[in-house]
Symmetry: C2
Subunit: 227 residues, 2 copies
């Protein structure tokens, strides 16, 4: 275990905690107090650290995500819904995966305008935009809350600006989906980890792109003649 600690930079005490919480599978016992750990343990510890340190997940959610990744009942076409559900937890328990539109590409696809639960501004906006998502998806509630918070502080996030963001984010999603491999387990892993770990990449890129844009524009203002 001290070897595993050295290989991963994670303390023995923390590794023991991961073992107790089931976040790390036991090593192969070689005596009553010794066990062998292999590359699969190193990989798993790195995964737990990435999800908690960079992804910002608490260890309960990390455990749920790891369970989802190692689950056996994954169909490729339902992978995105399953992956997103694994991150959302209890809120979504009452939505059977088989019911989710996103798990049924050949089934009753529908824009969120079709009958569904209580609608919101986010529902209405999504329907107008024509995005094919499950109208019961809790992520729509997340969007609505985040949008309302922007309104509450007067950020001026109107539908035109939301559409602009959505156009940009569609390009992100195409890259995300293109990077999903065909094999179901690998796909689920890619989607779950990509959702959690690429968000911080995008957030950092946004701050840097803001600086670049502001600087470039200011330089342009300084160097071109006023109209």
């Amino acid at each position: 275990m001290s070897g595993l600690s050295q290989a991963t930079g994670v303390s023995v005490a923390t590794l023991k905690y991961y073992l107790r919480e089931g976040l790390l599978h036991p090593g192969r016992a070689t005596s009553r107090t010794q066990a062998d750990y292999d590359d699969s343990h190193v990989e798993r510890v790195r995964l737990v650290r990435a999800l908690s340190d960079v992804g910002g997940l608490d260890l309960t959610t990390v455990g749920r995500v790891l369970d989802a990744i190692s689950g056996d009942d994954v169909e490729r076409l339902g992978v995105l819904g399953a992956a997103q559900r694994s991150l959302l937890g209890a809120d979504l328990v009452d939505i059977a995966p088989a019911d989710a539109a996103c798990a049924h590409p050949g089934g009753p696809l529908s824009a969120v305008a079709l009958p569904g639960p209580a609608t919101s501004r986010a529902h209405a906006w999504l329907a107008r935009r024509g995005w094919l998502v499950d109208p019961r998806d809790p992520v729509i509630g997340d969007l609505d809350r985040a949008w309302t918070a922007c309104d509450d502080v007067g950020l001026g996030l109107d539908e035109a600006r939301m559409d602009g963001y959505a156009d940009a984010v569609e390009a992100v999603a195409v890259i995300d989906v293109d990077s999903v491999p065909p094999e179901p387990h690998a796909a689920l892993r890619q989607v779950v980890l990509g959702t959690v770990l690429v968000d911080p990449v995008l957030a950092a890129l946004r701050r840097l792109a803001q600086q670049h844009t502001a600087v470039t524009r200011a330089a342009g203002e300084n160097h071109t003649a006023p109209e």
Copy 2:
């Protein structure tokens, strides 16, 4: 104070805590135990809730952000740097705002290739891309850590995919910067709140756009003849 509690949906105990911590300015005292609260208090409480509940900031960071928003030494062109610094805290204390390239649009702009502190893969990628950012900006470290975490779990986030994300995020940043008003205080407020509160909007949009993209593509696979 019970009126303020009703207007904001925040408990009296929490409001008292905000007062003690300086997150909320005192009301106008009308007696030893009574004070009047006005719209400015309602607005401030909503702001604290938005930053903490939706933005996910701890209350210490909320206080720092609020201090930044109400600061008096803001130049418009340094707003983005100042705003981002207010979110980052102590790490950035050793970078005087006046030194930051992003605060000096007429000054020594430089891509990150120019001499700076220890470079990383993120530095090299930014230099190749030609983004004009301060090479000492801690956000570059955030990007590097997030990128490394993706590598550690085998997400396959190579430079081509990073460039794809960056193209999309540039479009987001243009919308962000276009929404910044000219008046310095309003600008700083817009940038700080936009950074914190629009990230959750973008994260929700990304999940929904992934579903839409996956569903649309799967439907296309089902309905078109194989090549």
